[in-house]
Amino acid sequence: MNFITASSAIREQRVFQNHHEIFRDTQLVLDDFLLATYQALAIDYPKFYKMDRSSQLGFLASEVLLRENIIQSYSHESVALVLANAHASLDTDLRFYESMKSAASPALFVYTLPNIVAGEISIRNRIKGENAFFVTPAFEPHTMSLYVDTVLEKPQTQACIAGWIDVLHGHYDVFLYLVEKEKRGLSLDHKPEELTTLYQQYYGTVDGRSEKTDH
C-alpha cells in the first residue's frame, strides 16, 4: 500500500496546502493572481516570469506541495511525476496562434506542449525519475492511482508527485498530491476513493467551508 502524504490546490484565486488556505486574492485576474501568489510565497526563481499559465500554476502548486522539503531525503532519480489535464496546452496554443498574426513568439512556442509543466517542476526540484502526462476529459482517480501505483512498484521509485493541472481561457483547476511508500503527513491510503474525496474536498473548501489561514 502507498500513501497520500501531502496535497495542494489552486482554485478560484485561492491557494491551499493540505486544505489550509495559505493565500487568496479573489479580486485579481488569473495572470495577476499568479504573480501575486509568486510574490506572497517569497519565491526567488526568475524563470517563473517566462512560464506560460499552465507551468506557472503547476510550479506554484508544486512549491506549495513541497514547501516542507518533504522529498529532500529522496534521490533525484527516485521521485516520479504523473500529471494530467483536460485541455492539453490549448491555452498557450491559442496565444501562440494569435502571436503568429504579427510575429510568432519563440518564448510562447516552447510551451505549446502539455508536459512542459512537468519539465519545469522537474528542473526546479531536480527530479529525474519517471514522468508521464495524460490528457483526459476530467480528473480520473482510478486511472491516476493505478498508474502511480504501477510507477511506485519499481524499486527505484520512492515517491510520486501526481495531479491535475488544467487551464483554458482564465479558467483553471489545479490539484497536486504526493504519494509515498512511507506512511506520514496526511497518511491517507492511496486508493481511488480517498483520491476522489481529497479532490472533491478542495471544491468544498472553495465553497467556503474551510477556515482561512493567512500566509
Partner: protein, 85 residues
C-alpha cells in the same frame, strides 16, 4: 541614442516577460546573457523578433548574434547602423 536605449529596455522587459525588472535595473553595458540578465537561447530568438518587429532590422548572419546582443548599447548601435532610412 539615449532614448533608443531607454525604449529598448522597456521593449526587452515586455518581450521577455521580465516582470521582476524595471528599465532602470538594466545597465547600458550590462551583459544580457549568462552572467548579466541571464537570458537564454529562446530569449535570443525573441530579441531577433523584436528587432524585426519594432525596428525593421534583420539579423543577416546569426553568428553575429553574440556581438549584437551583448548589451542594450550594442543592440542600439546595431539598430542605428542598420535601420532603414
Amino acid at each position: 541614442m539615449e532614448q533608443l536605449m531607454a525604449d529598448l529596455k522597456k521593449q526587452i522587459i515586455e518581450a521577455l516577460n521580465l516582470k521582476h525588472l524595471k528599465p532602470e535595473d538594466i545597465g547600458d553595458d550590462q551583459p544580457l546573457f549568462v552572467e548579466g540578465l541571464g537570458l537564454d537561447s529562446i530569449d535570443a530568438l525573441e530579441l531577433i523578433v523584436l528587432l524585426q518587429q519594432k525596428y525593421k532590422v534583420k539579423l543577416a548572419n546569426p553568428q553575429d548574434g553574440p556581438t549584437i546582443f551583448k548589451s542594450v548599447k550594442t543592440m542600439a548601435e546595431f539598430i542605428r547602423a542598420n535601420q532603414p532610412a
